[in-house]
C-alpha cells in the first residue's frame, strides 16, 4: 500500500507543492521578520551604540565612544544606587517567585478540588492579575501607610496590643518607610572577594521590600494559580485512580504524582514571573518610589531617571543593557531547552 502511494508522480507533485510553499512561507513571515528585526534587534544594537558613546543626545546622535570603551559600565558598577538596585532585584525576585508560586500552587489545588463555585473562585483569585500595576500600587501604598490600612487593622483588632504584652513594644511595622537592611553580608564579601571594596551598599534584605513583595505576589499569584489549574486539569483521572490503588492517597499523591507532573507548568510560570520581576517598574513607582536609602529602588526606575531626569542617556542605556542581559540569562536557557522537545 505505501509503495502504491509514493509513485514517482506523487513524489514530484509533493516536491512541487513544497517548492511552492517555500516562497509563500517566506512571504508570510517577511513582515513579522522585518518588524521584529527593526524594532527589536536594530534597536538593541542602537542601544549598545548609545551605551558605549561618550555624549549621545536625542537631538545630536553622536556615537563617538568613551575611552576606555567600558567607561559607562564602569561608572555604573561604581554607582551605589545601581548596586542597591541589583541587590533589590535579586532579593525581590527570590521572595516574589517563592511566594507567588507556592501560594498559586495551593490556590490551584484548592480550587481544583472544590465541588461547587469553582468558576467563581477561579475568577476571584485571577482578578488581581487583570488590574493595572499603577492602580494596585496606589492602593497598596495606602494599605501600607504606617498611619492607616494594615497598621490601623493591627491596632483596632488588638493584635498590636497583644504583641505589646508579649514583647514590650507595639506591632506597628514601618512597611515601605523602613530603612533597615537585615543580614548584611557586604563586609564579609569585601574580605573574601578581591575588589570587594567597590560595594557601597549593605548587601542584605531591605525590610521595605517585604511590603512590595506582598503586593506583587498578591497580584500575580492568580496567574500562577491559572497555570497550575491548567496543569492539574491535564492529569488524567486514571492516574489518580492508579495511584489510589497503589496506596498513594492524600498528601502522598500530591508529592509523588502531581508535583512531578506539574514540573513543566511550574518551570513556565517561574520563567514568566522572573521576567516580570526583573522588569518591575510601575508597581514600585506608584507604591513606594525609590524608598529610604534606595530600599525599594529598581533598575527600571534607575534607567528612567538617569535618562530623562539626569539626561545621562549613555549611562541609562548601559543600565538597560544590564537588565536585558539579566532577562536573557533566564529566558534563553528556557527557550533552548524547550525547542528540541517541541519538534521531537
Amino acid at each position: 500500500m505505501p509503495d502504491a502511494v509514493t509513485t514517482p508522480r506523487v513524489v514530484a507533485c509533493r516536491q512541487r507543492r513544497r517548492r511552492r510553499r517555500v516562497p509563500q512561507a517566506a512571504l508570510l513571515l517577511a513582515p513579522s521578520f522585518l518588524i521584529v528585526s527593526i524594532f527589536v534587534y536594530v534597536f538593541i544594537a542602537y542601544t549598545v551604540g548609545v551605551a558605549l558613546s561618550s555624549n549621545w543626545k536625542p537631538g545630536k546622535a553622536d556615537f563617538s565612544t568613551t575611552d576606555p570603551l567600558y567607561a559607562n559600565f564602569d561608572a555604573l558598577i561604581n554607582n551605589g544606587r545601581f548596586q542597591a538596585d541589583l541587590r533589590n532585584t535579586v532579593v525581590f525576585t527570590l521572595f516574589f517567585l517563592t511566594l507567588s508560586v507556592v501560594a498559586g500552587f495551593f490556590l490551584a489545588v484548592l480550587v481544583h478540588n472544590l465541588l461547587w463555585a469553582r468558576g467563581f473562585f477561579r475568577g476571584l483569585f485571577l482578578l488581581p492579575y487583570a488590574l493595572s500595576f499603577i492602580a494596585t500600587g496606589v492602593v497598596w501604598r495606602w494599605l501600607f501607610n504606617p498611619e492607616s490600612g494594615i497598621n490601623l487593622l493591627l491596632r483596632t483588632s488588638g493584635v498590636s496590643s497583644a504583641y505589646q504584652h508579649l514583647t514590650g513594644h507595639a506591632l506597628q511595622p514601618d512597611w515601605t518607610s523602613s530603612p533597615v537592611v537585615v543580614g548584611d553580608v557586604s563586609s564579609l564579601l569585601e574580605r573574601i572577594i578581591p575588589g570587594g571594596h567597590i560595594i557601597q551598599v549593605q548587601l542584605g534584605i531591605p525590610l521595605a521590600l517585604v511590603a512590595v513583595v506582598l503586593a506583587a505576589s498578591w497580584q500575580l499569584m492568580g496567574f500562577a494559580m491559572a497555570m497550575f489549574l491548567a496543569g492539574l486539569a491535564s492529569i488524567p483521572e486514571d492516574v489518580r485512580e492508579a495511584s489510589m490503588i497503589d496506596g498513594a492517597s492524600g498528601p502522598r499523591y500530591y508529592v509523588s504524582v502531581v508535583i512531578p507532573l506539574l514540573r513543566p507548568f511550574a518551570l513556565t510560570t517561574v520563567v514568566i514571573l522572573t521576567h516580570v520581576a526583573l522588569k518591575m517598574f510601575d508597581l514600585i513607582y506608584a507604591m513606594s518610589g525609590s524608598g529610604i536609602g534606595f530600599a525599594t529602588d529598581m533598575p527600571g526606575i534607575f534607567v528612567y531617571e538617569t535618562m530623562f531626569k539626569a539626561l545621562q542617556y549613555n549611562i541609562g542605556a548601559a543600565a538597560s543593557l544590564v537588565m536585558l542581559v539579566l532577562v536573557t540569562l533566564v529566558v534563553v536557557p528556557y527557550l533552548a531547552r524547550r525547542g528540541p522537545q517541541e519538534t521531537a
Partner: protein, 425 residues
C-alpha cells in the same frame, strides 16, 4: 479559499494598512505650511491648564491667524513630557516651542543645537531692562539668550497653620532662623502637635526642605559658591545644616513616605501638622483646594534673609528647524506681554518675571513675592533643575538626599555632592 487566495488577501490587507497609515499622516504634513503652532508642555492639571489657556488666549489675540495645537503630556512632574520630547527631537520632529527649566536642562538643549537664539527678540522688545538680570543669566549660554520665562515660583517658603500655632502659643515673623524654628517645634511637640508636614514619597520634597535650610543658613552668596564649587558641601557649615535636617526629619508626620507634596499641604490645612517647607505652588493648593484664607488660616515665613528668592521658573524655547518658526517667535513675544504674564500668574500662583507688571490686583502673598522677585536677591533652585549645572548634578543631589534619609551621614553626603559638582561642570 486556496493558499494563493489567502496570500493575495494578506498582501491586500497589508497594502491597505500601509495606505491608511500614509493617508493618516499626510494631513499633518500638508497643513504645516499654514499657521499651526504646536506648544509642548507638561501642564495638564486643572489650574495649570487654565493658566496655559491664558497664554494661548494672548497669542491668539495678537495673531488671530495662528492655530494652536496643545501638545501637553501628563505625568511625572514633566519627566514623561521630556521622554516624549526626546523621542521627537531624536526623530527630527521638532515642535515650534516647548516648556523647559532655565539652567542645566536648557543648557542640554543648547548643546544639542536644537534651539534658536532669541537675542533679537530681547533687543527689539527691550526685555533685558524688565526681566531681572539673574534670570537673564540663567537663560544665557555662549553669549546668547535661548528662552523666555513666563513665571517664577518661590521655593523657600515655610507655610504654617495659624490655629495650631495659637494653640501652642508660638508665632513667627516674616523671617526665621534654625534656632527659632527648633524652639517653635519643641513648643508644638509639647502640645502633642506634629511640627513638620512632609510628603517625600517623591524624594524632591525632602531635597527641597534641605535646600531651603542650606540657603537660609549660608545665604545667597554661599549657595552660589556651593553650586560653582568654590564652597565645599563637605564644609562644617553645610554639615551643621545637614545635622539640623536630620533633626527636622524626626519632627515629621510618621506617614511622610506615603504622602506626596500635595498630601503634606493637605495635612497642614487640616491641622494634622503645623509647618511645611514648600514652593508657592502650595499657596494655590491651600487657597483653591482647601479654601484657606491667607493671613487667617495660614501664615508664611522665610528661613534666613527674607529678601532671598529661590527661583523655580518655567521657560519656553523656540525650536530650531520646526515647521513654523514665525509662529514660534510670535508665541514668545505674546507670552512675554504684561497682560499675558498678569493673567497667567494669577492662576498659576507664581510671580510675573517682568518687573513692570502691575500686580496690585493680586492677593497679599503674591504681591509680596512679586516685589521680592523684582528687588531681592535671586538664587536658582538645584532640586528643581534651575541651576546652571548639568542636570546630572540635580539627580546626584536627589540620590544623596535619598541615602541621607537612611544613614544620616553628613560626611558621606558632603563627599558625594562635592564629587557631583566637580563632575557636572
Amino acid at each position: 479559499m486556496s493558499r494563493k487566495q489567502v496570500a493575495t488577501a494578506i498582501v491586500a490587507v497589508g497594502l491597505a494598512a500601509l495606505g491608511a497609515s500614509v493617508a493618516s499622516s499626510s494631513p499633518n504634513k500638508g497643513a504645516a505650511a499654514g499657521g499651526k503652532l504646536e506648544v509642548f508642555s507638561w501642564w495638564t492639571s486643572g489650574s495649570e491648564n487654565a493658566a496655559l489657556q491664558q497664554l494661548f488666549k494672548a497669542t491668539k489675540q495678537a495673531n488671530p491667524e495662528i492655530q494652536i495645537v496643545n501638545a501637553a503630556v501628563a505625568g511625572g512632574a514633566g519627566t514623561n513630557a521630556k521622554q516624549v520630547l526626546a523621542t521627537r527631537l531624536g526623530g527630527g520632529d521638532i515642535p515650534e516651542t516647548w516648556q523647559t527649566h532655565p539652567g542645566g536642562e536648557l543648557a542640554d538643549y543648547v548643546a544639542q543645537g536644537v534651539l534658536e537664539p532669541l537675542d533679537s527678540l530681547y533687543a527689539v522688545n527691550g526685555w533685558r531692562k524688565t526681566v531681572p538680570a539673574a534670570l537673564i543669566k540663567s537663560m544665557t549660554y555662549n553669549g546668547h539668550i535661548y528662552a523666555v520665562l513666563v513665571n517664577t515660583h518661590r521655593a523657600n517658603v515655610v507655610w504654617y497653620n495659624k490655629a495650631l500655632f495659637k494653640r501652642a502659643g508660638v508665632t513667627l515673623g516674616p523671617s526665621t532662623t534654625w534656632a527659632k524654628l527648633a524652639g517653635v517645634a519643641t513648643s508644638l511637640k509639647g502640645k502633642g502637635i506634629t511640627p513638620l508636614c512632609l510628603g517625600d514619597k517623591d524624594i524632591w520634597t525632602a531635597g527641597q526642605l534641605l535646600e531651603e535650610m542650606i540657603v537660609g543658613q549660608v545665604g545667597a552668596s554661599g549657595w552660589t559658591g556651593l553650586l560653582n564649587g568654590s564652597v565645599k558641601w563637605s564644609s562644617p557649615q553645610v554639615a551643621a545644616v545637614v545635622g539640623h535636617f536630620n533633626t527636622a526629619l524626626g519632627w515629621t508626620n510618621s506617614d511622610h513616605k506615603s504622602q506626596d507634596w500635595a498630601g503634606a499641604v493637605g495635612l497642614l490645612a487640616s491641622g494634622k501638622c503645623a509647618m511645611n517647607v514648600m514652593g508657592d505652588w502650595a499657596y494655590g493648593e491651600l487657597k483653591v483646594k482647601w479654601k484657606q484664607v491667607d493671613g487667617k488660616d495660614f501664615g508664611y515665613t522665610i528661613i534666613g534673609n527674607p529678601s532671598t528668592f529661590v527661583t523655580v521658573g518655567d521657560a519656553f524655547v523656540v525650536g530650531k528647524g520646526s515647521k513654523n518658526p514665525a509662529a514660534a517667535q510670535a508665541w514668545a513675544k505674546a507670552i512675554m506681554s504684561p497682560q499675558a504674564q498678569l493673567a497667567f500668574n494669577r492662576l498659576k500662583g507664581s510671580a510675573p518675571v517682568r518687573s513692570d507688571v502691575n500686580v496690585s490686583s493680586y492677593g497679599p502673598y503674591q504681591r509680596g513675592a512679586a516685589k521680592v522677585l523684582a528687588k531681592g536677591v535671586k538664587v536658582p533652585s538645584l532640586i528643581h533643575g534651575q541651576a546652571s549645572v548639568k542636570a546630572s548634578v540635580g539627580q546626584a543631589y536627589s540620590d544623596a538626599v535619598t541615602l541621607l534619609e537612611a544613614n544620616h551621614d553628613a560626611g558621606k553626603f558632603g563627599t558625594a555632592m562635592d564629587a557631583a559638582i566637580a563632575a557636572g561642570k
